[in-house]
């Protein structure tokens, strides 16, 4: 079967095919980029709080839905086999961590808005394609939380030095409710970031250069990518970390041990929902969903008026 993934992160864009192919080698996985160069993912729409029950949705979400619809119906040309399953993934970033339902509602609304703008024939086809062959899943709060679910395998690939392991999370922490208990990280002021400190003041505050955990302030303890970046900290780098989504992030994702990551039945429920959805479609009998799925995106608990397969 052919499974397409439409992510909003660079590591996912580059790493999803390898990660899922390792788990389901008999099937074909590919990702869909915003620009046809496989470098630019679609823009995230959860980095700012989404308004509740809004009828208009962020333009970046509209574009994701347009692309998803066009990949399913009818495809750009008649050539090529159809996609059996299309999965949109998006982070549940800290700004929206408290309202996953609102994010899901926005996706449903965007799909309805798109369908309403099509002619009747095409609208019927897209409506059916979304319901039968498209899903939406959340990475909570972001991809890097998955690596904390498998620190043994993923962390070395992500570039974390062995002497900084294991990561220190609060006791019994579900990576999807991520919170560090590492006091050094919580109070770090970047004194060790020598190359960053040596930059002129205006460059130091450039948001593309300033280390994420220093930008974030107290919220950093809930941010798995900040913590991972800090674990990979390097004073010689201008942004003070060796972690890059396009390299270490991709490698860690491709090398993720899914079974180990999902070994705690009550943890990583959104991740399990995603895996269960794919597994059900591919009918592989892998049974990685042994444990609880997030009700909001669980395929088997979808609402009666579902717009996508699972929401």
């Amino acid at each position: 079967m052919r499974v397409a993934l439409l992510p909003t992160g660079k590591a996912e864009l580059l790493g999803f095919p390898g990660a899922f192919n390792r788990l389901f080698p008999a099937h074909e996985f590919h990702t869909i980029a915003k620009i046809d160069d496989q470098k630019h993912p679609f823009d995230s729409f959860t980095s700012s709080p989404l308004p509740i029950q809004a009828t208009s949705v962020p333009a970046s979400l509209d574009k994701i839905i347009q692309k998803a619809a066009s990949e399913l119906v009818p495809g750009r040309t008649a050539a090529g086999p159809p996609i059996d399953l299309l999965i949109i993934t998006e982070d549940l970033e800290l700004a929206n961590r408290h309202q996953p339902q609102t994010v899901v509602d926005a996706v449903r609304q965007a799909a309805c808005n798109h369908i309403a703008g099509l002619n009747q024939r095409l609208a019927d086809q897209v409506r059916e394609a979304f319901r039968e062959r498209a899903s939406f899943h959340l990475l909570v709060p972001m991809l890097e939380s998955w690596f904390f679910a498998d620190p043994v395998g993923a962390f070395s690939l992500a570039g974390v030095p062995a002497d900084r392991l294991p990561p220190r999370l609060v006791p019994d922490c579900d990576p999807e409710a991520f919170e560090t208990g590492d006091p050094q990280f919580a109070k770090d002021t970047g004194d060790h970031c020598l190359a960053w400190r040596a930059l002129p003041a205006n460059k130091r505050n450039d948001k593309k250069i300033k280390p994420g955990w220093l930008k974030r302030g107290p919220q950093r303890v809930y941010h798995p990518k900040d913590y991972l970046s800090w674990l990979c900290r390097s004073g010689a780098k201008k942004n003070c970390t060796r972690y890059r989504e396009t390299h270490e992030g991709k490698d860690a994702l491709e090398g993720l041990n899914w079974h180990r990551a999902l070994s705690t039945p009550v943890h990583c429920q959104y991740m399990r929902s995603l895996l269960a959805d794919i597994e059900w479609t591919l009918n592989t009998g892998l049974n990685v969903q042994n444990g609880a799925c997030a009700p909001l995106t669980d395929f088997s608990r979808r609402p009666v008026n579902h717009i996508f397969r699972n929401i």
């Binding site: 620009i35 160069d37 619809a69 750009r76 040309t77 798109h114």
Partner: protein
């Protein structure tokens, strides 16, 4: 004759390898830099000038060197052809890198009948069964037309006469106008006679079919709050525009044209260009979006569509602007890509891409994302 009942064919002209094109209505040309948008407009102009003013003038205007496509063989002529209804007029140019190397070939056909034939490299041409020497100042078809203006030839001549192409305006001259013909009734290619044209239209509304009022109304829509009227200062041969932007109070508020924004003047030039084109004309604008706000772009194109329909005109826009492209949603058959698809060049967007697939997107988004007219190598 329907305005669409014509076709231009070009072979091996600069970056254009093989063109067959019948534009109609308001059309868009899109492609990466160097794909041939401007060259295609130049090809149309070259054919018109070749007929109307002779080959020397045509080649002078379009630059006579490097006429041939780089991939063409040295022996391949550059071909231009226009078919209007049953009439086909063709030129075959033997060229090297410097320009024409010898006398060019020319044929004129009416249906299946060959009316005249001039072969490349020959010093005589044949018409009416007789060999004749070339006239250095005009092509053979023009010689036939000038001789007795045969009625069957009129559709071809009309098509070649009714073309105006605007590449880039000389805004400095618009801001500080020099002398121009006092009786100018349409915008010349540089736009330098803008104020003369508008003054003449305003002073004789009946003669000029209220074109001035149409331009002002269209300008008001495109540039809200910036214009209510235009008045003119200066001598008759050198008028200066004065933009009246408010007449709410007792004192009229105005600015001299040289203070007007470049985008404002560009919009005024484009609207004046289309308003001055009579029934059946072809008017083209190269990169019409330059200097314009998205609202102005949309508004001006809307005005262009209105007048094109009313006067059965063809308006060709070349553009890189996603805003311009978005105005062609549901008119994909008039959105031409300078890409070859199924042997067609240029290709209507609805033939290059599945229309159902296009329906999901705004066209500008697709262009921005390199989904069509991309400079990147094509994927398999």
């Amino acid at each position: 004759m329907e305005s669409s009942d014509w076709k231009i064919t070009v072979r091996d002209f600069r970056c254009l390898k093989n063109v067959d094109w019948s534009p109609e209505g308001v059309c868009l040309l899109a492609g990466p830099n160097g794909a041939g948008k401007t060259t295609l407009l130049n090809a149309i102009l070259l054919l018109c000038r070749w007929f109307l003013s002779g080959h020397q003038e045509a080649l002078r205007f379009t630059q006579s060197a490097y006429l041939r496509h780089l991939d063409a063989a040295d022996s391949d002529p550059v071909i231009f052809e226009i078919r209007v209804g049953d009439i086909t007029w063709s030129l075959a140019l033997p060229v090297d890198a410097r320009g024409l190397t010898a006398s060019y070939g020319e044929t004129l056909k009416y249906g299946d009948e060959t009316i005249l034939r001039a072969e490349m490299y020959k010093d005589q041409w044949v018409f009416d069964g007789k060999s004749r020497p070339f006239d250095p100042g005009r092509c053979c078809a023009k010689w036939v037309w000038d001789r007795e203006e045969p009625e069957w030839m009129r559709p071809l001549v009309d098509r070649l006469r009714k073309v105006r192409i605007y590449f880039s305006y000389w805004l400095n001259q618009v801001k500080t106008p020099g002398l121009s013909g006092e009786s100018d009734s349409y915008l010349n290619h540089s736009g330098a006679n803008l104020w003369t044209v508008l003054r003449n239209w305003k002073s004789s509304p009946r003669k000029y079919r209220d074109q001035f009022a149409w331009v002002i109304n269209a300008m008001r829509a495109a540039f809200p709050g910036q214009i209510v009227d235009i008045e003119f200062d200066g001598p008759p041969a050198q008028p200066h525009g004065k933009i009246i932007y408010s007449s709410d109070s007792a004192i009229e508020k105005s600015v001299p044209a040289f203070l007007a924004a470049d985008g404002f003047l560009t919009g005024l030039l484009q609207l004046t260009a289309v308003a001055g084109a009579p029934e059946g004309y072809l008017v083209a604008f190269d990169e019409m979006e330059n200097r314009l706000h998205p609202h102005a772009i949309r508004s001006i194109i809307s005005s262009m569509r209105e007048i094109a329909e009313e006067r059965d005109m063809t308006i060709i826009l070349s553009s890189h602007s996603p805003v311009v492209m978005n105005t062609f949603k549901d008119e994909e058959e008039r959105f031409y890509l300078l890409e070859e698809h199924n042997g067609k060049f240029p290709t209507p967007l609805n033939e290059a891409c599945n229309p159902d697939w296009l329906a999901h997107f705004s066209l500008g988004d697709l262009y921005e994302r390199n989904e069509f007219a991309s400079p990147l190598p094509k994927r398999n």
